[in-house]
Structures are given as structure tokens and as C-alpha cells.
Symmetry: C2
Amino acid sequence: MSRTLYDLAGEDPACRFSPFCWRSRMALAHKGLDVDAVPWRFTEAERLGFSGQNKVPVLVDGERVVADSWAIACWLEDRYPGRPSLFEGEGGRAVSRFVNAWADGVLHPHVARMVVADIPPLLAPADRAYFRESREKRFGMPLERVSADRHDRAAAFRRELHPLRATLAAQPWLGGEAPAYADYIVFGAFQWARVASAFELLEDGDPVAEWRERMLDLHDGLARATPARAAQRQEAARA
Amino acid sequence: MSRTLYDLAGEDPACRFSPFCWRSRMALAHKGLDVDAVPWRFTEAERLGFSGQNKVPVLVDGERVVADSWAIACWLEDRYPGRPSLFEGEGGRAVSRFVNAWADGVLHPHVARMVVADIPPLLAPADRAYFRESREKRFGMPLERVSADRHDRAAAFRRELHPLRATLAAQPWLGGEAPAYADYIVFGAFQWARVASAFELLEDGDPVAEWRERMLDLHDGLARATPARAAQRQEAARA
């Protein structure tokens, strides 16, 4: 059976930076399911017409079309109950929704402001114009101004991570003794920043940074295989 | 078998306002377990000597002594597996720790600042001096100054509730279709404010306020049976 995930990409099709798509890619890997993660770009809304909406991720799983990262996680859990669980029970699913809302409403706005100015150079030319215009309208200022205070913002962001840090002091993963979908939800935000920007969000020695490293190792290093922007910059500087 | 919970009380033994003790009282009720919730006061640390520490809640369940609200929830879940579950699976337990950390690290500091000045008049005389001194040291200012900006703070607090509000837009309880320990964790903060202060944290029509009403109705109105400070003030004014 063929399985396809429409996944946001930069001009380089290997550049995958959507936090929501990363939630789904990690969830698919957790279930041990093969998927063709095809590149999709902001200005290709018509390619998603079959899904009845215009945002990624969209999963096509055989005959079934599922849009939205949360719906994809629930689909995978329900469709493949014999494979490793994303939620470890209905309580896990219910409370993971809270983690989802925290990531969307607390983490993402911080990360967006810190990395948004680094995104246009990554994008295909048509996306670049769309992205700058739509995001500058959203923030009400040039992207470079949005990200200008990111050194100060990073300190506030790290304080906001307190509930994550406190949880990781008590157990190795948000999912407890093993990673679960709650980990993938939060990790998406860090992978977004890692791929899109050379700006470092965390301080050395932060337990959250240690958890992020362990997340990058999961599933044969799936997330680590997409290069960090910082590493790419260093390579370009050496060349 | 006798079961006792040491529960923080004001001068009036019916005044129970500890958010942590409310987590445990709701958890016991969820499990359908009778308990004698005995009043305990800040300056009675020696009464908890048997527990090897000096904070409430402490549950004495037959021979077993359990201190700390999280440990009590886990004890109840593991000791009484045949009764309604607090976590609905190990995933629910793991991810509820994150909710616990969010309540402790985000909700409680806000609520503390908004209600702390209202607490001394509730306390027994010995507790009153202890409380004012220890809290003024913690905040570095008179309690009345800590709570002076609470109208402004309430707006920030309500914004911090976004992940809770977004979750409740998708499902009736943090626990999903039925209340679970995650709900009791968060509710503790609201019950603390309700019993200790006449200051209203929420706006009319906030879905969080509607959820709070439903929490007050649970378990035959267990939490509602402890009077709200606002209602007591109104009664005093009428008398």
C-alpha cells in the first residue's frame, strides 16, 4: 500500500522545516510505517485540493486522506493499533491534546518570532514573496524587525520551557519511560528552529537540550538526517 | 480500613484552600474512597513528623503513609486499579506530569500573587504571623503590595490559560470524555482562589469558567461544599 505525506519544503527539496509536518513524520516512524514524504511548497495550494483544505501535513494512506497533524496522529493510532502506541491509552491521547495546545499557543509564537527572518532565503522564489508578505502582514512589521530582539526573547522562551524541563527531571520523555506523541509535538518546534535557523534557542547543559539530542537520535536518526542550518552555514563558510 | 488526609485549614476548620490538598481530595473522590480530611495548620509541622517531611497533603491509607499530591495520585491509581482510573493508562499518567508541572510553574505563581493578601485573615493566629513573614520574605514586599496589581495580572493570567481553553474547545475535560487527574491538578488552583479570595480570576463566558462550574459539581458537589470566599463576604455584608 502506498503512503504519502505532503511535507513543507524549501527551495532545496531536502530542507524540511514545518513543525507540524515533523510531528507527523516522527509519528509515522514511531509506528514503523514507511512513507514517501513529498516536498510541497506554500504556493502549491492547488496540489492539496483533493484534501479539501490547503495546509500541510496531509497524509494519503491508501484510500484515506487525512489533513492536520493531530488528526493524522489519531488516524495512525486507530488504524494501526498493533504497532507501538503514540498515546499509551485514551488518557494519554486526551492529555496530549493539552501538550498540543501548549506547543501551538506558547512554544510556536516564541519560535516563530526568533526564526522567521531566517526563513525567506530558504524558500523557492515564488514562496519567498508569499511568505514575506503574509508574515509581515501578520506581525505588522518587516521580518528582520520581528526577529531583531531574539536574544532577549530566547531568555523568556527558556523560562517558558519550565513545565517541559520539570517533567524531564522526573522522567526521560514526556511519554514516560519511552517517547510518545507528546514528545513529537514539542520536538516539532525545536526541529523547525534547527532546520530553519542557525540561532540557538537553548543553553548548553539545559536538560531540554539533552532531550532534543535524544529526539534527534530516535528512529535511526530520522530528524538528524535533515541538516541543521547552523551546520550548513559552517560548511558554506569553510568552502 | 481507616483513611486520613492531612488537609490545610484556616482558623475555621471548614476553610480548606490548599491547591495540592484539593488535587488529592478530588482524586480520592474519583476513586470512590472515603477519607477523613483532617484539618492541619502551617505551624503544626510536628504533627506530620511520622511522614518524614513537613508539608500537606499527607495520606494515611491503612498502614501506608504517602506525602506529596503526585505521589498520592500514583499510590491511589496503583493500589486501587479496579476503581475508576485517574490516568486511563500509562500514557495518561506520563503526560499528566506535564500538566502537573504547568500548574505548579505557570498557574500557581499567578494565582499566588493575586490571592496571597487575602489569606492571612483566614488563618489561625499562630499561622497568620508565620504566613505573613514567610511569604513577605519570599516575595520581598508586603503581601498587600504583591496583590495590588491583580487586576492587570488577571488579564495576563487569562492569556496563560490558552492551552487549557484550547483543549476544552476540543473535549469536555482535560481527561477527554470524562474528568481525570489532569483536571484535578488544574482545578486545585481555581479552588484555592475560590476559597481564599473574593477576587474573580475569570471573565463571564470563558469556557474555563464553565469547566470550573462542572468541576464544582463533580462527586456530589464535593468542592462546592467548601464555601467560596465571595459568598461568605456577601453573607457577612447582609448580616
